[in-house]
């Protein structure tokens, strides 16, 4: 695992230099700084050059570093990722932009059969330090194919790191770490947070935790909301609202889906005894299943209630005018929290004893 961000770490006294910056700007700066520091870093994708990307995340990079460093490619996603693989084989560190989530699908064979497997295939001789940036998720009124949450596909593919920032500081720090990583990283950028702002200094970006570590964004005692990317602000808002109900919710921002930070997540759930996993992606077969299952495996005896999930419905992403009904919002999160069996605090389970067929104690 790579360590965090650049040498320049945050400094309390530099506070005055901080100005509001958007996540898009922080991402842009991360690429710029990485390119300036390491000539092996190359950016490629559709419209990343002259246009600066449809979200302007690569704005100015071609101007500053030239067309060879930030390159407009032909319109072919498998070709983009496939050539990036070849570039990485020769020692470059390509940063690839997929224009939208659903337009990464043509590159899945390259991703699943090569990017994820090359290091392992060659016993470590041929690592592939490729960063694959994917704007993902909904909430921006995008038409079909522009709002997919595709993280489940990436998570199910051993060999990939899967990272997603929820804050401006993480956008910078995690993208720097992704580019510096010797492993391939699928870097999921929550589209609807591109324009989210925070006070942040490009000159002295604060150090962030490395890839693989979750972060408790809000401490609380009643229950833990486990989330990532676009749903982090939703959960923080829900936690504020929950105070009225008498719940003090803890919010864990996973930051990295792979590697998964069992330690931070389980420590929180063991403390609170209750958990809700929140994400936009469809529930069935989505990340929440994995997360809930592993929490349950590890914290069963600390759980007052089953780990619940609040997720997108099991439907294709809706058209713009209906997306609000699909996206998990504050109310749905609070409804799930309410279903965490507060009345129970149960200490005995009558149905558990004397069940017919309960086995004889085995010797094991």
């Amino acid at each position: 695992m790579t360590t965090a961000t650049t040498g320049r770490s945050a400094d309390g006294t530099a506070r005055s230099a901080r100005k509001p910056a958007t996540m898009a700007q922080a991402l842009n700066r991360a690429m710029r700084d990485a390119m300036a520091e390491d000539p092996a870093v190359h950016v490629l994708g559709e419209d990343v050059g002259t246009l600066g990307g449809v979200f302007r995340v690569t704005d100015g990079l071609t101007k500053e570093f030239g067309e060879d460093r930030c390159t407009d490619t032909p319109l072919a996603e498998a070709g983009i990722l496939g050539t990036a693989v070849g570039m990485a084989m020769y020692g470059l560190r390509p940063v690839v932009e997929m224009q939208f989530d659903a337009f990464a699908y043509p590159a899945f064979e390259q991703l699943l059969s090569h990017v994820a497997k090359m290091r392992n295939r060659t016993r470590g001789k041929m690592p592939l330090p490729v960063t694959i940036r994917v704007p993902y998720g909904g909430g921006i009124g995008g038409v079909e194919h522009h709002s997919d949450s595709s993280e489940a596909y990436y998570m199910a593919t051993p060999g990939l790191h899967v990272v997603t920032p929820a804050t401006v500081a993480d956008a910078y720090g995690l993208l720097r770490a992704a580019i510096a990583s010797d492993d391939p990283v699928v870097f999921l950028e929550p589209k609807r947070l591109y324009w989210s702002k925070a006070d942040w200094s490009p000159e002295e970006p604060e150090a962030v935790e490395p890839i693989g570590r979750a972060r408790v964004r809000r401490t609380g005692t009643s229950a833990t909301l486990i989330t990532y990317g676009p749903s982090v602000p939703v959960c923080l808002e829900a936690a504020e609202a929950a105070r009225e109900e008498g719940w003090d919710l803890e919010v864990v921002d996973l930051r990295s889906l792979v590697p998964f930070d069992d330690e931070t997540v389980c420590a929180s759930v063991r403390r609170t005894g209750r958990a809700v996993v929140v994400h936009e992606s469809s529930g069935f077969g989505g990340p929440g299943g994995e997360i809930a299952a592993r929490i349950t495996e590890r914290c069963f005896h600390h759980l007052e209630a089953p780990v619940l999930r609040v997720a997108g419905f099991d439907i294709p992403y809706p058209p713009p005018m209906l997306e609000r009904h699909h996206l998990p919002g504050v109310d749905r999160v609070l409804d799930a929290v309410a279903r965490l069996q507060w009345e129970a605090e149960w200490t005995e389970r009558p149905e558990a004893s004397g069940r017919p067929g309960a086995p004889e104690r085995s010797g094991r």
């Binding site: 559709e46 032909p74 079909e144 294709p316």
Partner: protein, 380 residues
Amino acid sequence: MTVLEQPGAYRPAPPPAWQPRTDPVPLLPDSEPYRLLGTGADLDPGLLRTLYAHLVRGRRYNRQATALTKQGRLAVYPSSTGQEACEVAAALVLREHDWLFPSYRDTLAAVARGMDPAEALGLLRGDWHTGYDPYEHRVAPLSTPLATHLPHAVGLAHAARLKGDDVVALAMVGDGGTSEGDFHEALNFAAVWRTPTVFLVQNNGFAISVPLAKQTAAPSLAHKAVGYGVPGRLVDGNDAAAVHRVLSEAVERARRGEGPTLVEAVTYRIDAHTNADDATRYRGDDEVGAWLEHDPVALLERELTERGLFDDATRDGAHDEAEEMAARLREAMNGDPVLDPMDLFDHVYAEKTTQLGEQAAQLRAELDAENAENAAEGGR
């Protein structure tokens, strides 16, 4: 005669099962785009008038749809201003039972085929993904993932041919879309199966901001045809008569069972990529200006005038009809559509799964609670 059947060719003769079977020479496109307007060619006045009315209407449609984005009535609109000749010709060369496979930019082609403009714009309005029944006008859903609909056009044409039906499928794609693997695979399947499919590439110079020179090094996109054993045709995409002629020939060839054709129409996207795009970032006004002088509507108007076919009635008729269409469209788009969020669960599968049933019940309860709250507030 194939290259390997030529006298003195390679020995031993390759086994018949894998002999290349096409003579490359007739497949190669002309060295410059085919044109009819301004050449004095023999042209049907009725067709020219029909094309003109459609072009005027198409231009108005583009203007109106763009205006609707400014009023927030469309989520987004990819304009085909400047490309109306291609859009219109693609629709007019087809018969009733033929199929059109539009790309995301090609709502105008659907409208020219007879679809109600408001229906054609459903996806871009954002009330549902496809606003129309594809079987009504035999127009496949607009394809947003570029080039992915090309194999659909091949498969549909193949199925129709196997059933013995007289159906041609015409599929539209952009210059950028030709770089996708799907383009390649579709052309190849069509060629091997000799399906009645016509591929129309609108080379409008750009894929969003990326100019053709960064997209391909080919002599022309039509030259790609030869690599599939398919004839390639290069046509001036702003010359409505020429596009109509070339596409008609391709459609008739397909209908005769002679297989697919690849047509490249050289044109230009006058507007930005969509209303959300800023074209000044990647091209200059002079470039746009040069193309405005080769405007498809103006070219046809000039031709009609030169042939003495243009009078006030023709012009006014076309424009009045266009204004009527625009007014109807504005009216249809004015006001918020009434949508039922419960539809979200109804078409995922033929029957709702248990799980979707549960989720629908959840949303139903939420909506009921919302309504009750609203009613309570209203009642106060």
